[in-house]
Symmetry: C2
Subunit: 640 residues, 2 copies
């Protein structure tokens, strides 16, 4: 199958992370912490667990060294990607030396033919590309490619880009037309979107074609995972045979989204991170080729996911069993899996859908996931992480230093480090403000060199000021996203109110000749909202979730002298209160708590309805939970 490229796009693309300096009351300290603490701590973990050392390829059977794992390179690569973004805006000789060292180690581990995976080089050298379904081999390659692109774009160096391009060239020869493994694709998607990035950076069409080939082959018959198992004759990396028939086959197929050709897929199924990475690649490819089949599938999948299978936090994938989706409206709160990486994957996909469509509706979901399901994954001190993100806890959930399967911590790091690239999207004569994050963006617009400075007091809807510096007066469009959480968005230009109208795309568009010193003020009308789930959702029946701005709130037991399931909201409104030295308010107001005192210990079931006592309730942003010790927690609160 050949594809033409999309020749006429005027779409806005994310602004490169290097061109955005974040100076924000909320994100600034988080990025500072990332630079000062988290990156070093994660590097130390990569060293201590043997991941970096594995690149020396000195492991032998029986040696004391930790045995390399097929996807260790992906952890290293995500850390490199995060570190590269930091270096692009905040030069740091010590960090650069670490990065250069890891890049050199990767280059040293690369084989003559371009191959780069320690496990398949020293542990199972004969098994290269024989278990695409389970071994994560191309997944790890994809992360290396993303790291190579990020490293080049942020530092200008080609040391890692050259390495990963050589590896990608090997993949083209193995999986491209006439290659030994033509028709194959990875059980854990990732390499597809990475190859699109590599194409965009290098302009080399063969990488885009390989990404298309991977996506096009997925779910076709004869099924590649049957073919490779037949050739291999053994179970996959985790010991499972690919079932030839029955219910279990469907489960295996859906797990990695290979149950149907991708253009025919209409429901978000299987492993949630895999799904997000596949859909991201599909959106990228739709954008590059104009493929309406891919675009249509993306839109159908998006609607399905966001109207039937997404938590209010933007967390996705309700089940631990498959780290993914089960059935429509099955969104249990206490045992929600909602992997941090899956919410990050939703951010990736949403950004691509926004770019593909120019519609702010996708940014609304991006923002929901980012400010809730994603950043809940890291502790206030930047050093502990959630893999799973339940929306209710009996007090047993706590963040951890690291995980054997360590995908989430460096994934969080690369997202936070690249936050600047999510704030703005631009075309040749337009700049859209997608997130209200204090920052300065540099961009050529309407023929002029423009710098736009955004100052924002709080991501929860504080007033925003935008000031323009321009090399010359120039005509371009400034688009201001009207968040779905704002009751209204008032805009003034140089002190004069505009009759700003929110377009169908969800933006207020100001097209004019912008001159140096122009100033735009944006004010949001923000109130505490009570959210209600579709009545199809059993887990949320009779419950409400509190929200303010983009933040979803929760109640923690530490703030009420009772388990949070005993808390009942009445009709009285809660009000935002800004704690000292914070930029996101807590919500405070009257509520009641059910308790029978010691009678509750003595009798399990009685005819006595529990009396209520009044309390002043404090709800905290969901992302901030579990930072004050183990505690019960609930997002969905009883109402009545």
């Amino acid at each position: 199958m050949t594809h033409t490229l999309n020749p006429t796009t005027t779409r806005r693309h994310p602004v490169n992370v290097r061109d955005v300096v974040v100076e924000d009351a909320f994100w600034g300290p988080r990025q500072q912490q990332l630079r000062a603490t988290t990156l070093d701590a994660q590097y130390d973990q990569l060293v201590a667990t043997g991941r970096i050392g594995s690149l020396a390829l000195t492991w032998t059977p029986g040696s004391d060294e930790p045995r390399p794992h097929p996807f260790w390179e992906s952890d290293i690569a995500k850390w490199l990607e995060a570190a590269s973004y930091v270096l692009g805006t905040h030069p740091d000789a010590a960090l650069e030396a670490k990065v250069d060292g890891v890049v050199a180690a990767l280059a040293g581990a690369q084989q003559e033919d371009g191959y780069l995976n320690a496990y398949f080089t020293v542990v199972a050298p004969g098994e290269r590309f024989t278990d695409l379904r389970d071994a994560h081999e191309l997944y790890a390659a994809g992360h290396l490619i993303e790291a190579g692109v990020a490293h080049h774009e942020s530092t200008g160096k080609t040391t890692l880009l050259d390495v990963v391009a050589r590896y990608a060239d090997l993949l083209v020869s193995e999986f491209g037309p006439g290659g030994a493994h033509e028709g194959g694709y990875c059980g854990h998607e990732e390499v597809e979107l990475a190859l699109v990035r590599l194409y965009r950076t290098t302009g080399e069409r063969r990488y885009l074609d390989l990404a298309l080939a991977f996506v096009d082959a997925r779910g076709t018959t004869p099924h590649y995972f049957d073919v490779e198992q037949e050739q291999r004759g053994t179970a996959g990396f985790f010991g499972a045979m690919f079932p030839q028939r029955g219910d279990r086959r469907q489960e295996f197929l859906e797990y990695n989204q290979s149950h149907a050709p991708v253009r025919e897929q209409s429901q978000a199924v299987g492993h949630a991170v895999r799904a997000m990475y596949l859909y991201s690649a599909m959106a990228d490819l739709a954008a590059e080729t104009g493929d309406e089949g891919l675009r249509g599938a993306c839109e159908t999948l998006w609607t399905h996911l966001t109207t039937k299978r997404m938590y209010v936090t933007g967390g996705i994938g309700d089940s631990r069993h498959n780290e993914g989706f089960t059935r429509d409206y099955v969104l249990p709160n206490d045992c929600a899996y909602a992997e941090t990486c899956a919410a990050i994957g939703l951010v990736f996909w949403a950004r691509r859908m926004a770019s593909l469509s120019g519609s702010a509706q996708y940014v609304d979901v991006l923002e929901r996931a980012l400010y809730n399901g994603v950043i809940a994954g890291v502790s206030a001190d930047g050093q502990k992480f959630f893999y799973e993100n339940p929306l209710a806890s009996d007090g047993s959930a706590v963040r951890r230093d690291w995980f054997d399967c360590a995908c989430c911590p460096p994934n969080l790091a690369r997202l936070e480090a690249s936050l600047g690239s999510y704030v703005y999207a631009a075309s040749a004569d337009s700049l859209a403000v997608d997130l209200y994050v204090g920052s300065t963006v540099a961009r050529r617009l309407g023929g002029a060199d423009v710098r736009l400075r955004q100052s924002s007091s709080s991501p929860a809807g504080g007033d925003v000021a935008l000031t323009v510096s321009s090399s010359a007066p120039a005509v371009w469009s400034l688009l201001l996203r009207a968040p779905s959480w704002a009751r209204g968005t008032a805009v003034s230009v140089n002190g004069e109110a505009t009759d700003a109208v929110v377009g169908e795309d969800g933006y207020v568009t100001l097209r004019r000749e912008w001159a140096d010193g122009d100033r735009v003020d944006v004010a949001f009308d923000v109130e505490v909202r009570r959210l209600y789930a579709s009545t199809h959702v059993a887990a949320d029946a009779g419950r409400t979730a509190l929200a303010y701005g983009p933040f979803v709130y929760c109640v923690e037991g530490v703030d009420v002298e009772a388990p949070v399931h005993a808390v009942v909201l009445g009709d009285s409104a809660l009000e935002p209160v800004l704690p000292a030295s914070e930029v996101v308010p807590v919500l405070v107001g009257p509520a009641s708590v059910e308790t029978r005192g010691s009678a509750d210990d003595a009798v399990l079931y009685s005819e006595a309805r529990a009396p209520r006592r009044d309390v002043e309730l404090t709800a905290v942003p969901y992302y901030s939970w579990n930072n004050r010790g183990a505690s019960t927690m609930a997002v969905w609160l009883r109402e009545g």
Copy 2:
């Protein structure tokens, strides 16, 4: 350790099943169905799955025969026990022939030394008694012993009793003082209570002593499961090694209640069926020996279980993971495990606690489990079974014909077949009516031959009449249990109201000279009750369960045009309504259902609180759910 027997007991014991004929509007048809359908269907399953055939000991490696499993004899034995009870009150030549055939097959499978287990005879002959922890070997022996006792007591034959006594004698020589396996005990308790039954039937003290030895050894150090694993040098039957240290060791220990000596155990932990069978044996032994340590442990464990870890249905064991208990007040409804066998085990234990104490509080729990958690395990047609008994369903739960691990169906059969023995408890001069079940009991009381006929219109609290037939006037006490679900219990004797007072033991006691033709009428004041869980139970917060008499109710989606989680009860009362040809009422009354119509399909989260529409709600007894096709179901209903 030696134990003296308890010399002075005047406790009431259950009346033998053979001496009670059930003629009850509720139970009569169920027992009739058991005789007409269920026993034959289960026998056919025992044949079809190879269980009966395995006793021919003809399996060889590579043969086409199903490979025997170590606990297949337990399924056979429970069916034999059920069939024996039936033969005791309802002679049936065809059933007797089947029973005799199975008994002969068991006798034929017995080895020279008394051993009787097909798996360890033909599959793994060298491994006898090497894996007490996992292989269920003594568990299967215990069920054979119970079957032998029941067969003898109900039919008078000794064919099976002789077989199991020979097997028990082997166990005495192997596990008794000086035996090769002294200090060992089974990972799945059962043989202990069986040996007490065998002692009571035969009077042979060595069986009681062995039961005591098993119970006394449990949880002592050095731990037997370490010792046997060390000797064996391999993992257990299911492939797991017994952990030497760490959190996993505690989990393994608690799983089979070997984490501490039994007299020091204070919390119901681990596999729920195992726990119930152990505690039942402890109560039996406390009764036989007067051991205050065992009695005290039983009382402590009982209080813990019933105030912290029991569903309102009498189901126990919330987690599928260990088929058992997790933490206090963790009682999720939709994923409740609540194995049918565990509720049956609670009935067993409760009856023994009632016998040990003479207190009706234990019968209240027995009745709760029996009328709810137990009989929900079987379909209205008597042919399909639940293994797990959730208290809420999204419509995916359905009963099945049989299970690979088939403990529940024959366990239900033996309980229903022996129901008569739960109705009355007696001493030499007292007869207690524990359950209000239409029946006739024959018993020697106060020196006379007495028959008491009980007629009861409904177990939900209809009026009850008791008539005495007596060979001569005699003084004895008639005790009438005052159920905890009755607001009041009015008693008249020969038409004259008594000022009946409920004693501390929970019974109304009528001690007088009873003459032939005396009549007692009992009237219960019964209302629809709303039950509330302790506020410690997160899963039931804001919810109520409906109850009437001993029955807990549920709502099924088939009775409301909405998923049941959208149903909300108001303050209006529901009233009992007796459907045609039923003896247990349904509950009918006003409620509301939340729905937004098609908006619920289009938007997952909104600020619109769902409006309510009024409905007439019908709640059905929990035991009867899932008899009208797959449907959503909930016991705990929203209120407000």
